[in-house]
């Protein structure tokens, strides 16, 4: 495989909890992202799945330094983003972009969509003069399947799917290499989702984009990604290619997650057995000791409550689970 474009190592994002009263002491942390390591290779789509609250969105934001990481580092195309000055970071931001979850909240209702798409062009000084800006905005809108004639309309005049296309056009404006797609289809209707996913795929092929695709919907992630990282309570529990993850999930959490995904086919559904997990996801303020999945894990045994399993490479994938600790794994 080619060189990694983005390398994340031991990324931590903690949100401090302060005591109430006159002296606001730092009493604890919400460990939203607690030691996450992965790479995204040039031209690939890495899917990041997990349930709400597992820290997947925070990971995406920290990658672009839209949230300051508490620890660890993110290397983008060879340069460590935590060491960059504000102006260097701004230059780098041209090369990375984000598509947000909620197309209703992520577009300024008082700006025309032409202005919304032109804003990044102006900020980064990518267009000289009005005619060029006009042409470039028209091209971008066309690229995402909207008519350039719509440029003077406002977000409320568009449907959810169309708004998400505006969000995509804005992300593409600076010709980025890397786009973090944070639940880009979750807020859309089923028949509209497919159109947006097809568009993202086409754009990747045409422009050679690299995606981090964050979603809770495992079917969508599987459809879309080359490799998939599964996250639970601030940690990555398994990374595998899409076929491997589907056919042979190794981590007990991945197995449960996959078995819970409903298949739109009653005949298949009757032949499946679900692994129903007990209870709820624990609080990231005070996560369980050792492997943080152990209180809900149907296969928990001796070392699980005490030792924190490392993400180890086994047969072409990475798993953080004591079940596989002795199977010739090497430290990843």
């Amino acid at each position: 495989m080619s060189q990694p474009l983005v390398e994340v190592s031991n990324l931590q994002v903690y949100f401090p909890i302060l005591s109430t009263g006159a002296v606001r002491r730092h009493i604890n942390d919400v460990k939203a992202v607690d030691g996450v390591t992965f790479e995204v290779y040039r031209g690939e789509t890495l899917g990041l799945v997990g349930e709400s609250g597992c820290g997947k969105t925070t990971t995406g934001l920290a990658l672009l330094r839209l949230i300051e990481p508490t620890g660890g580092n993110v290397t983008f195309d060879g340069s460590d983003t935590s060491l960059l000055s504000t102006s260097e970071l701004r230059a780098l931001r041209k090369r990375m972009a984000m598509i947000f979850q909620d197309p209703y909240a992520s577009l300024d209702p008082r700006m025309s969509i032409g202005k919304i798409v032109a804003e990044p062009l102006e900020i980064h000084g990518l267009v000289a003069g009005r005619t060029e800006k006009h042409r470039r905005v028209g091209d971008l809108l066309e690229m995402v399947g909207l008519s350039p004639d719509y440029r003077n309309r406002y977000p409320h005049e568009f449907s959810g799917g169309q708004r998400q296309r505006v969000g995509i056009a804005r992300a593409l404006a600076t010709e980025p290499d890397f786009i973090v797609c944070d639940e880009p289809i979750a807020a859309l209707d089923v028949s509209i989702q497919a159109g947006v996913m097809n568009l993202l795929e086409d754009l990747q092929r045409e422009l050679g984009l690299t995606y981090l695709f964050i979603a809770h919907d495992l079917s969508a992630v599987q459809h879309f990604s080359d490799r998939i990282a599964v996250m639970y309570l601030g940690r990555i529990v398994e990374v595998a290619d899409r076929v491997g993850l589907y056919e042979d999930p190794r981590h007990p959490y991945t197995q449960a997650l996959l078995s819970a995904v409903p298949v739109p086919d009653p005949v298949v559904e009757r032949g499946r057995s679900r692994i129903i997990l007990e209870g709820d996801v624990p609080s990231p303020i005070d996560p369980p000791s050792g492997c943080n999945f152990h209180p809900r894990c149907p296969q928990a045994f001796g070392p699980c409550p005490g030792d924190d399993p490392q993400l180890l490479a086994i047969s072409g994938r990475q798993v953080a689970c004591h079940l596989y600790a002795d199977s010739g794994a090497v430290n990843a």
Binding site: S159, S191, A194, D217, L218, A220, A256, L277, V281
Partner: protein, 327 residues
């Protein structure tokens, strides 16, 4: 099969708006039998939620105008007085709402909210009501129910709140339970817990369930029959196997084709349905799906609303050009 518990005939709901009359539900009819699970599937704006709110008498009139007929065990429900309704809601028919965060009362304990309907329908108060509330919380799988019964909704997780909603729905042993997007706000692992729970309770007490959802995946494992709704009408209705196996309506086909299937094989492209759902203020004259349909022709589809016709055993579609078995 026995007499249906619920008979809905030509149910219509309209709203007066500034822009004109919004035709949200345009004549839907169905029967619901005891112990059966009926899934009503549609996208946002298809009228599926409004359709069941009308069923429960929960639409204020005006602005809504509800017509048609809804019979519960032979008794006509439309036009009942608020007092008469109170005898039916909760006991005969109960509803689980979509968003447990906003549909529970934040300033009352779980126990208070659970026992409220018991006092009305079962004449249970005080300690007996409290022990039934604890029993119900246990049934829906809430750990240490004796302690949880005194909790407020904000002390519970999303999945637990949804379980409390279900427990409230079950409080007076209803014949019909309506679940309106009951798992949409939940994660998949919690969703699996909830669908399994409802199916298990249904087996135990024999109630009928109407499951309203936009997600064809969720209902595949639990529905006996599936009705696909679009533009306020049923487009297709059949047993679950037929809907997924041999869809006859182009809209159903499009919906199924646009779903990414979990699996190792990746189709080249997802099927897309061009265009947008119809505006309820300006419904098309013919089939509501015609403007987006690949098979539509000018002769019939744009002018005439297709009637619901049999296309197979227990399988009906409202389409001038059903796809045929080999489609």
């Amino acid at each position: 099969m026995s007499e249906p518990v619920l008979e809905v005939r030509n149910l219509q709901v309209r709203f007066g708006t500034k822009r004109g009359v919004a035709e949200v539900v345009n004549g839907i009819s169905y029967d619901l039998h005891a112990g059966e699970t009926l899934a009503i599937v549609g996208e946002s704006g298809s009228g599926k939620s409004v359709g069941v709110l009308a069923l429960m008498g929960l639409l204020p009139q005006p602005p809504a105008a509800v017509s048609g007929s809804v019979q519960y065990r032979g008794e006509e429900l439309l036009g009942l007085s608020p007092k008469q309704w109170r005898g039916i809601r909760g006991k005969g028919m109960a509803m689980i709402f979509q968003d447990p965060m906003t549909s529970l009362n934040p300033v009352r304990t779980v126990g208070y909210q659970l026992t409220e309907s018991m006092a009305i329908h079962l004449n249970l108060k005080g300690d007996p009501a409290r022990s039934r509330a604890i029993e119900l919380l246990d049934v829906v799988g809430i750990p240490s129910p004796e302690a949880r019964v005194d909790d407020y909704p904000h002390q519970l997780s999303g999945g637990m709140r949804q379980r409390v909603m279900i427990a409230m729905g079950l409080a007076c042993d209803p014949d019909v339970l309506i679940a309106d997007e009951a798992t949409t706000a939940l994660d998949v692992t919690t969703q699996a817990q909830i669908t399994d729970l409802v199916a298990e309770l249904q087996d135990r007490v024999g109630m009928a369930v109407i499951w309203i959802t936009h997600d064809l995946g969720v209902v595949a494992s639990i529905a006996d029959r599936v009705h696909v709704m679009y533009g306020g009408r049923f487009m297709e209705q059949a047993g679950a196997d037929d809907i997924y196996g041999t869809p006859q309506h182009p809209y159903t086909e499009g919906l199924l084709g646009s779903l990414p299937m979990p699996g190792a094989q990746r189709p080249d492209k997802l099927m897309t349905i061009p265009g947008l759902p119809p505006d309820p203020v300006a419904m098309p004259a013919g089939c509501p799906f015609a403007p987006r349909c690949a098979y539509a022709d000018e002769a019939s589809c744009l002018d005439t609303v297709p009637a619901m016709e049999g296309v197979g055993d227990g399988h009906e579609a409202a389409c001038h050009h059903p796809l045929g078995v080999n489609a």
